[in-house]
């Protein structure tokens, strides 16, 4: 029990070089899969521990708190850890067959190494209680993500990766500058220590201006990383051209972790009163969020590459998360956190379906979907169910998110925001249904090689995620309680 927090990061971090050492594709897959399952087990144990005995603080190398690096697990990051490890534990079994098709033999060990490093980085960001350590992990996950995207089959994957590299580096630099400013102001990097020292600064003092500047840099940096409209430009290309497995993994985890960082800095370090009442983060986030919901959904309707369509839909869905945050109420924040979980489930399922289609058909243009309703009935059924969750039909996880978001907007009487939330889901109906109509009502291509349904190795993880979408639409006690608990902890402004 004592060393669980550090093992959460160490396990994938140590698995990564091992993948490289075994040098055989399948063997390194096995290592990676075991590491990801171990990670899931640890995150479940941590969640259990946190929910029964309260937050855990772990001092790395036994160095006491303000000097050494501290890992801190509370309601919010236990929940995010669970999201990341669950997605990883489902993505890796899925990876075997998909990677064998899309990645060349000699690159496979490298691929799994990078995937594990990325996972370690994401987990590190979430679990650490040290601002600079968070930046280090951020770079770790980002660099491996650039390389992973660059491994895509099409040559445009390289430009997509480069684009992401440029934007991501700008974002990371902004975050680094923000952290540097906070350090110059307070002389500490430990998150709890930062929070208590910032709380002592009177509003009128000189330090105030540095704080505002730091906040501005941090917000822009996080917004770039979480692809908040209009800073999302790297995302559609990256998701479209990355290998299927990478898209599944990144779409379901990377942006959520960026949202987590935003929450952690805004609420736990700077304090919700300062951020929302003096710096008006609510107003700053509100407009881009609403614009994301409407504009990105509209753009999604006109995409012919379905992976790109889903990528734009991700931009819109991130808008829902940041919208929840910007409402600055318990319900709103909770809806935002809940949607991180639910969106990971639905987008994971949808991108897995894309991977299955591309496994059989080779690409995922709209025209490739013709007749797939008959040819790949299970994959397309999964796509329809995942799509229903995205639209927010009752009995799916997406409905629950939408319910709480609308409730949060109605609580403060914002009718126009309510309308935009609902218009967003209606636009989702349109872009999902384009695919459904093509798959079920258009005849098969003339040139048809007798390929059938996707292999079980892809279908099982896909349907586990679809099942989770349905299960968490009916029995919502776990995510709703966790999100509600995390939201109250954040609003109290402490790392409880």
């Amino acid at each position: 029990m004592n060393h669980l927090p550090v093992f959460q990061v160490l396990l994938p971090l140590l698995g990564a070089p091992l993948c490289l050492l075994v040098r055989r594709g399948t063997l390194s897959w096995l290592v990676a899969t075991l590491a990801s399952w171990g990670g899931l087990a640890i995150s479940l144990a941590l969640l259990h521990h946190v929910s029964h005995t309260g937050p855990i603080t772990y001092n790395l190398g036994n160095w006491p708190a303000p000097w050494g690096i501290t890992y801190h697990v509370d309601a919010l990051n236990a929940f995010v850890l669970l999201i990341v490890t669950t997605v990883a534990a489902l993505t890796l079994p899925y990876a075997l067959q998909s990677v064998n098709l899309e990645i060349s033999e000699e690159n496979r060990p490298l691929f799994y190494t990078l995937l594990l490093i990325c996972l370690a980085g994401l987990l590190g960001i979430v679990i650490t209680g040290d601002a600079f350590n968070m930046y280090v992990f951020l770079e770790l996950s980002s660099l491996s993500a650039y390389a992973l995207i660059g491994l895509g089959k099409r040559r445009r994957a390289l430009t997509a990766a480069f684009q992401y590299l440029v934007m991501g580096t700008i974002g990371a630099t902004f975050i680094l500058i923000g952290i540097g400013l906070l350090y110059s102001l307070t002389g500490t990097l430990n998150i709890q220590d930062l929070a208590s020292r910032i709380a002592l600064i009177p509003a009128s003092a000189y330090g105030h201006r540095t704080l505002i500047t730091a906040f501005a840099f941090l917000t822009v940096g996080f917004s770039l990383k979480l692809a908040l409209f209009p800073l999302h430009l790297w995302l559609p290309n990256a998701y479209t051209y990355a290998p299927s497995v990478v898209t599944v993994f990144l779409a379901a985890t990377a942006t959520k972790v960026a949202v987590y960082m935003l929450l952690r800095f805004s609420f736990s370090i700077l304090g919700s009163r300062f951020v929302f009442e003096q710096l008006t983060l609510g107003k700053i986030m509100l407009l881009p969020s609403l614009a994301a919901i409407i504009i990105a959904s509209l753009v999604a309707i006109f995409q012919y590459d379905i992976k790109r369509m889903l990528a734009y839909s991700s931009v819109a869905q991130i808008g829902y998360m940041t919208l929840g945050i910007s409402l600055h109420s318990h319900t709103g924040l909770m809806a935002g956190i809940l949607h991180m979980f639910n969106h990971a489930l639905m987008k994971g399922a949808l991108f897995m379906a894309m991977g299955a289609v591309s496994y059989r058909v080779g690409s995922v243009y709209l025209t490739d979907f013709r007749g797939l309703g008959r040819r790949m009935p299970l994959t397309m059924a999964a796509f329809v169910l995942g799509g229903l969750s995205l639209m927010g039909v009752p009995l799916t996880a997406g409905f629950i998110s939408k319910w709480f978001l609308v409730k949060a907007a109605l609580e403060i009487g914002w009718w126009s925001v309510t309308a935009i939330i609902l218009i967003g889901s209606l636009l989702a109906v349109i872009y999902i249904w384009r695919v459904v109509e093509t798959a079920y009502f258009n005849p098969l291509h003339e040139i048809e090689h007798g390929q059938e349904e996707a292999p079980l190795g892809l279908l099982i993880p896909l349907w586990v995620l679809v099942g989770a979408n349905l299960y968490f639409g009916i029995d919502t006690s776990i995510p709703v309680d966790m999100a509600s608990w995390a939201a109250s902890a954040l609003l109290e402004g402490t790392m409880q």
Binding site: L410, T418, I423, S425, E437, G473
Partner: protein
């Protein structure tokens, strides 16, 4: 077996039936046998509920708790029992009819049709038994989604376009208007359970009450109040059995049923009468009654004419509940039954004509009554019920509605009723007239008589039910009168 178990069975039987139907796809006879068996056992279950005395005094049955403080729950009340009874009885008859229709027209994808039919019925039962707004919304959406493959059954361009219209309007209104209305209700009242006398109270401003009522009236797109009615004619691209059961009974009745339930059990008569909000609903319903009848006059396609007639008849039910007197509420419940029996007869007849003679237009029907006497006699009975003339069931509901309107007193409503009676007669009676009294202008493509026997039996059965409901309306009337408890 406890009453709670029976309620669960009502939803489970069609759902499980759907699985068995899907499994027996290779054996058409077995598949159709399973369909009949499923619908018969559903009818038996609902009949059991009719005989229970404790059926309305049960505590709500909680299925799951998806949101804190708000459950998926089943709770039976008189109107729900009435709706469940009508839907399950007509499903059995429609199943027989469907078998004849599908085989005779050798339609594609028959298994998919039977499976979706069963799922749609399961959702309909869910709507009938829903104990709160969230449960109602859940099954309402499921009904929309499960009927989509039925509307687009043919798979050609028209069917896909019609399906787009269908899904687009129904989902847009339910997500865009009904869902916020439900969440708003939950926020104001703290509950979404249906309770006699309503759950909303005086904390809402009158303007708020009116706005909320409008959100519900237009959000429930299945009630087809103008201008949200366009999906119904578009849905007529579906095979006729689908139009008959779903777009004359299950789907549209689910709409007006929800509206009646919301008016009686969410708002409550007192709140609406004192804020005057019911006048909005009366106005919209009146416009729809007259408007849809006028449009029906101009339709040459028989099924489209019947569809506009459905729009108009549904508005009768909305109007009846909006008048808010015990008599008119009784009329609303009665008309749900009367219109169901009458309209399904008309659609069955239209399908029989299509099957036997391959005719879809009113202008082609000259003299067809001599070749298909049973079908056209049933059609005439259904028409009488639509117009509201004895000896058909439509007369009784219209009688109660008129009485209710005169007690209130709402003279314009009485005028609307009179006008619409004339309009109904003028778009339905000519069909009966030309079928029987005009001779064929040119010989048909092929010699034909009646449609297959099983279809004729089905449509005669529903026509008989229309007459029976006029002679012996007691079982329905008894349930309808239990509804008026909220007025004391």
């Amino acid at each position: 077996m406890t009453t709670a178990n029976l309620l669960q069975l009502c939803i489970l039987i069609p759902a499980i039936g759907a699985l068995f139907i899907a499994a027996s796809t290779r054996l058409p006879n077995l598949r159709e046998g399973v369909t009949i068996l499923t619908s018969a056992s559903l009818l038996a279950t609902v009949f059991q509920l009719f005989r229970r005395t404790d059926v309305f005094s049960q505590t709500p049955l909680v299925l799951a708790t998806p949101l804190p403080g708000i459950d998926f729950e089943l709770h039976l009340e008189p109107l729900g029992l009435l709706f469940a009874g009508i839907a399950s009885l007509l499903w059995l008859i429609t199943s027989l009819y469907t078998i004849g229709y599908m085989r005779c027209n050798s339609e594609q994808h028959q298994t998919r049709l039977y499976v979706c039919f069963a799922i749609a019925l399961s959702s309909t039962m869910g709507i009938a038994l829903a104990g709160n707004l969230l449960t109602l919304f859940l099954f309402y959406e499921l009904l929309t989604l499960s009927t989509y493959p039925l509307v687009t059954h043919k798979g050609d361009h028209d069917a896909v376009a019609g399906g787009r219209f269908y899904l687009g309007i129904l989902i847009a209104t339910s997500v865009g208007l009904l869902l916020p209305a439900i969440i708003w209700t939950w926020q104001v009242a703290g509950t979404t359970s249906f309770r006699p006398g309503g759950i909303l109270d005086w904390t809402m401003a009158p303007a708020g009450v009116s706005l909320l009522l409008m959100l519900y009236a237009f959000g429930i797109g299945k009630a087809a109040l103008m201008p949200i009615h366009r999906w119904l004619p578009e849905a007529m691209v579906a095979p006729t059995p689908v139009s008959a059961l779903l777009h004359a009974v299950a789907v549209v009745k689910a709409g007006v049923f929800s509206l009646v339930k919301i008016v009686l059990y969410i708002f409550g008569p007192k709140l609406l009468l004192e804020t005057g909000s019911h006048l909005f609903l009366i106005t919209i319903a009146s416009i729809t009654i007259v408007g849809a009848s006028v449009i029906a006059l101009q339709q040459d396609n028989l099924k489209r004419r019947l569809a506009y007639s459905t729009v108009s008849q549904l508005a009768y039910i909305s109007l009846a509940v909006a008048v808010l007197t015990p008599l008119s509420v009784t009329a609303a419940a009665l008309h749900i039954a009367a219109h169901a029996f009458g309209k399904i007869t008309l659609f069955f007849a239209a399908g029989a004509i299509y099957t036997a003679a391959h005719k879809t237009r009113v202008s082609e029907l000259d003299g067809i009554g001599r070749r298909m006497p049973w079908t056209m006699t049933a059609f005439a009975i259904g028409s009488l019920s639509m117009i509201g003339l004895p000896p058909a069931a439509g007369f009784i509901s219209k009688w109660f509605l008129l009485q209710g309107a005169l007690i209130q007193p709402l003279w314009p409503v009485a005028a609307v009723l009179l006008l619409s009676t004339l309009l109904n007669a003028s778009y339905l009676m000519p069909i009966v007239y030309v079928a029987f009294f005009r001779s064929e202008t040119r010989p048909p493509h092929h010699e034909h008589g009646e449609a297959p026997k099983i279809m004729v039996i089905a449509l005669c059965a529903t026509a008989l039910l229309t007459l029976l409901l006029f002679i012996k309306p007691d079982p329905v009337l008894r349930l309808a009168q239990l509804l008026t408890g909220g007025f004391q």
